[in-house]
């Protein structure tokens, strides 16, 4: 099923005033797609999910499942969740504590008044799919976090929903279980081909799971694209620092025009970088820009390269395979990934930057 979100807004009125949790968001999710809503906490991603589920009413805009309008305040349309056939997995799992695993999974079918035989068959096959058949008689309180998670997923999938919604489902699991469940979740989704909307604040989850990612900030859409897109072509400084780990380095620079050629000038003594047309948005209007370089695109080097910075190592974080160096240069503090383990705090290093891997942004990451 395709999902279309059209100029959707949601405003809350609280004691402290009006808050716009979702601001004019438009999205298209293709049938069978694994679509991730990514953003820092408070960016409106969970509100957006709740709007799609029907747990919240939009203030403005429209939501369509295929061609069917399920919410459009201007047209007076609002379908409650039970008319939408969507399923949701909650961060807290929200299992019914008074029911055992079997009854938890069977619950949505019982509410639909499905036949006894059908219910039994559906519950058993879904439980088999998630490998929880041996837990059927347990109550949620007697399950581990990972088991609860599986039961919650089984309850969501048992009635083959049109849309599968997940709200930070992995954030209560420990790291090891999280990466395993991540993989299983992806396989399961591919196997079933259910259109999926997945909310997370973890960029690793977003990158590994999503066919496409929508990055949100302060209720607005920042960028939509495939994980490769988001990594290789971030459109704003915020997108650049939010996606990728460790985050992209941002260095402020000035624009200098020399005839037809445009340069970004950073540091003292000044280093000039020639800017080509495909390096991000229009920049002739601004004097101040941000230059972005990912830590993995900076190398320790003894030779002079076209783009060269030097600085002092101020801190070292060993990541196992390599080191994460905090290097204080004369224009900014820069993160560098280095395979060379023979470095100490206080060493002076010279850094070569691959000029083809440079990004240019007009604004700072805390602006949009």
């Amino acid at each position: 099923m395709t999902l279309a979100i059209d100029h959707l807004s949601k405003r809350f009125t609280t004691l402290r005033g009006r808050i716009e949790a979702v601001h004019n968001v438009s999205l298209e999710v293709k049938a069978g797609e694994f679509f991730v809503l990514l953003g820092p906490s408070g960016c409106g991603k969970t509100t957006l999910l709740n709007l799609v589920a029907g747990l919240e009413k939009p203030t403005d805009g429209e939501i369509r499942f295929e061609d069917q309008i399920v919410a459009a305040p201007r047209k007076g349309v609002f379908h409650p969740p039970r008319q939408r056939n969507v399923a949701m997995v909650f961060q807290s799992y929200a299992l019914y504590p008074h029911l055992n695993v079997y009854d938890n999974i069977a619950f949505p079918l019982r509410v639909m008044r499905a036949g006894k035989g059908d219910i039994d068959r559906a519950v058993k096959s879904t439980a088999a799919m998630l490998d929880i058949e041996n837990l059927m008689d347990r109550k949620p309180a007697e399950l581990s976090g990972g088991q609860r998670q599986r039961v919650a997923i089984a309850r969501a999938l048992v009635r083959r929903p049109r849309l599968f919604l997940l709200d930070e489902p992995l954030s209560n699991l420990d790291a090891q279980l999280r990466s395993r469940t991540r993989l299983e979740l992806k396989n399961l989704q591919q196997q079933l081909g259910i259109t999926t909307l997945y909310v997370t604040h973890d960029q690793t989850e977003a990158m590994t799971l999503g066919n496409r990612i929508a990055l949100l900030k302060d209720g607005s859409l920042v960028q939509v694209g495939t994980p490769e897109d988001m990594y290789a072509r971030p459109q704003t400084a915020f997108a650049a620092t939010f996606i990728g780990s460790p985050p992209m380095n941002l260095i402020s620079a000035r624009i200098r025009q020399e005839g037809e050629r445009v340069f970004a000038v950073l540091g003292d003594p000044p280093t000039k970088i020639e800017l080509t047309k495909d390096m991000g948005p229009d920049r002739s209007s601004k004097r101040e820009i941000m230059v972005g370089i990912r830590p993995e695109h900076i190398h320790l080097s003894t030779e002079r390269s076209p783009l060269h910075l030097s600085g002092r190592v101020s801190a070292i974080e060993p990541l196992g395979r390599e080191l994460l160096l905090h290097v204080q240069t004369d224009c900014a503090a820069i993160l560098v990934l280095s395979a060379d383990k023979d470095l100490n705090v206080g060493d002076t290093v010279s850094l070569a930057v691959d000029p083809n891997r440079i990004h240019v942004f007009e604004s700072r990451p805390n602006e949009n």
Partner: protein
């Protein structure tokens, strides 16, 4: 004596004194109930054990103890069930729906429960007389429901608000209507809390004295506390032995309920609903 032992001794003494202070009247009640001579504290009269008081209470036609007990149980149970039913509907609405002025509503309810019953009883008497309900069960049940409702509501609101909202949301997603969420999810999850509230409302109604005194006239509707207080001997003397025996018997159901269910109530109040 070291400090720890000293502390322990102080705590033990204080606890013992508190328990003694609280239970002394009960001790006196039980002893008197089993005593042949009620004024056994005076040096001339010995304490002689007897079951005659209990026998009289249970089987004497003139005391109507069993009728009072039946009335008490019916009135208290009916009041508690009605009160808790409405309180749980209200508590669900207050904790889950976007009602304007919730807090004001809750405080108004609390304020109403502060009215001294004496200020109401005169009017209630007039009302019940006009309705022709004096000395019937409804004459007690209606005021008891009104009187226990604020208590039930406040307990249930605090209990319901501890049930995670995600359960409601999960119910909505799984296809429930609001009413189905209430009956299929909230009530079963809150069952221990609802049960505890039911018990408290029952005990409150069971112990009530003033309304029962004013609004009933004889064994057709009179409840235990009033019944016992108005026990009269054959020649107008106060039958202390029988009063105490009856009081002991009347205390038993309440104490038994609390003892049997205390573990379940506490368990229910502390058990986590979602993640652990």
């Amino acid at each position: 004596m070291n400090e720890d032992a000293f502390k322990k001794a102080i705590i033990f003494t204080a606890a013992a004194a508190t328990i003694l202070f609280c239970l002394a009247p009960f001790g006196y009640m039980i002893l008197t109930g089993f005593s042949r001579y009620p004024d056994f504290f005076s040096p001339q009269t010995p304490w002689v054990a007897t079951l005659s008081n209990y026998r009289a209470v249970m089987f004497s036609e003139s005391l109507h103890f069993t009728a009072f007990l039946r009335n008490s149980i019916i009135v208290s149970a009916a009041s508690a069930v009605i009160s808790v039913f409405f309180a749980s509907l209200a508590a669900y609405a207050i904790t889950r729906l976007a009602l304007p002025g919730k807090l004001l509503f809750m405080f108004l309810i609390l304020a109403m429960s502060m009215f001294p019953p004496v200020s109401l009883v005169g009017y209630l008497f007039k009302l019940m007389t006009a309705l022709g309900w004096i000395n019937t069960y409804p004459a007690l049940i209606f005021p008891y429901v009104a009187w226990t409702l604020p208590l039930s509501l406040w307990i249930l609101v605090s209990y319901f608000s501890r049930i995670p909202r995600d359960l409601d949301r999960a119910g909505l997603i799984d296809g429930c209507s609001r009413l189905q969420i209430l009956f299929k999810i909230i009530f079963p999850v809150a069952a221990p809390g609802i049960f505890a509230t039911l018990l408290l409302a029952f005990i409150f109604a069971f112990n009530e004295f003033l309304f029962a005194l004013m609004l009933t006239t004889d064994r057709a509707a009179r409840t235990i506390p009033v019944g016992i207080a108005l026990f009269e001997g054959l020649h107008g003397q106060i039958p202390w032995g029988e009063i105490m025996a009856a009081a002991t018997l009347a205390t038993l159901p309440v104490v038994a309920l609390a003892l049997i269910f205390q573990r379940r109530i506490i368990q229910g109040l502390t058990r986590g609903a979602v993640k652990g």
